[in-house]
Amino acid sequence: MSGIKFHPAELILSVLVLRLVIAAFFYHPDIKSQYYHAAFFKTGIINIYEFLQFNRTRLPYSDTFNYPPLTYIFLGSWQTLSSVISGPGLDDWLSDWSDRHLYNPDLFFYLLLLKLPYFIADFLILKLLISLVSPPRRYPLALLWLFNPVSLYAIYAVGQFDIIPALMTVAALTLAPVPAAFLLGLAASFKTYPLLLIPFLLLHTRPYPKALFTGVAALAGWGLPLLPYLYSTAFRQTVFQSSLGGRIINPGFVIFYLLVLGLSWYRRRSPDLTWDFFTVTLGVLLFSRFHAQWAVWTLPFVCLLLIRLPRLYPVFLIVLFSFFAVIFLLPDQYVLLGLFTPQNPYLATIPSLVSLIPKRDIVNFLIRRLLLVSGLGLVFSTYYHVSKITKT
């Protein structure tokens, strides 16, 4: 990378233009669904789970809200502010579940407005990542983070909020164990997966009695926002039975997780948890039927490791290719073609890509195996490197 001039103004302008275009012109129904539920926050509804349990049959959109409460409060707060900025049109659009919602004259404006918080989280992650590497590696890291297709796809095109808990997990890397644990707990109140990272933090906490405080801090960060909801059956049913329990925890992942925990124990004297966080979050992609946005969980850690180990780029590219192949071959209109519907609403009528592929089961099987093998390759080659550092 040496020899490339760093022009901050050109970098910033390119980054902003790219994000503005993708955020405004791409649409996935999930963002509408999440903000539709979040819009109830400004009407004073705090327990959205119970509200939906009793009222969703008479609402125009009858799905449940499956995320922990901080997500509802966060999205609800932003939706409240957005509806002040936009006027009543935003609420009307969020409540419009007819075919006409793609023809709304302010569609691009609404999409951009609703995705604005993700810009801030995205750039804050970059700031944290830069602080974790040596000066010569900072510019390549910035390019890698700002222009990688995964975050452009999952954060700006699909419009998922996973960048918020991801920011907290990266921030946890930069903090002392107790505040880091609290932050991971808090992140788990947005999406449950950071709970998987806490045992690694405990394992690496020195001296060991301090691990007790670390555990309490994690419990406090996770439990405090959940406390007012625990009595609610609707909350327990929708949140605790969703992603972490139902989709991530499976025999393959459990074995992998225990193996990683063992490897982490072996290098427990190292305070650096980048590899551990990277491996667990990547493991979720390797062993479960994942959603595209789950890749954002592992992305910051992948970037950190790749910048330290540039020889692993070819393996990373295979992981990246197989990740997108798995996603684009899902039988879901909105993983690819449907995202373009704000520009061309008729694209919703084209069948998903997978329906055009003969012997799709075999293709899917091969692509998933490629992801698994290349992902495990990335895990163990990076472990070889970090364990060498620990020994020296």
Binding site: E10, F109, R138
Partner: protein, 225 residues
Amino acid sequence: MYQKLLKPEIITVLYLLSVLLFLAVITCFGLRRIPDSAQHRGDTITSLHRGQDIIQEVVPRNNGLNTVLIFFKNPNLGNTDRLIFSLSLPGGAELRHIEISGRNIGDGETVRFQFPPVPDSAGITYLLTISTPDTSPGTPYPLSVAFSSVDAYLPGRVISPAGMTGDLSFQLFYAPVSRGELVADLWHLFLPRVLSLHLFLTTAFVLIFGFRFLRFCISRIPEDR
């Protein structure tokens, strides 16, 4: 060479061009049908059997009618009889005829009847007929379709079953005859939305605030490397 490609502005242009190219390709070569008109309400269910055909009048808005979507229920996937779809003129001339088996119809499935485009279909009244001549009236597993309980489709009415006041739930599609007209149509939909004042102000805010914020975030990248 590759170092030149790694310039931020080059990467940005490559991303945007590839997105634009993809959109152009799928719009020009991928689109086989475009929504025409529809009756989405389906609050009542009516079963099909020999002697009880469903006949609905429809009036497409565009030329090139080539697809009709109809919602079916087939509880326990129990019905495996022949299902006949036909499109005809009120005078009786059958224009299109499709036969499928109940085996291919799920419970709560929208079935697509696709046929060669009817060239001058705009504004003409057609009859959609669905029949199951092999299903006896007493069968425990009839196929059924959804209807609105009220007259929800003003251009046409139900001919059969007699006495039905609502309309069949259906969607019509047409084949884009001219790609140029299609692109012009999309451009007219796109342009006013891009020129919105709200979007302009939000973009300006993001550029101004984002510029300062991102400069703060990358302040630790050494200028001189």
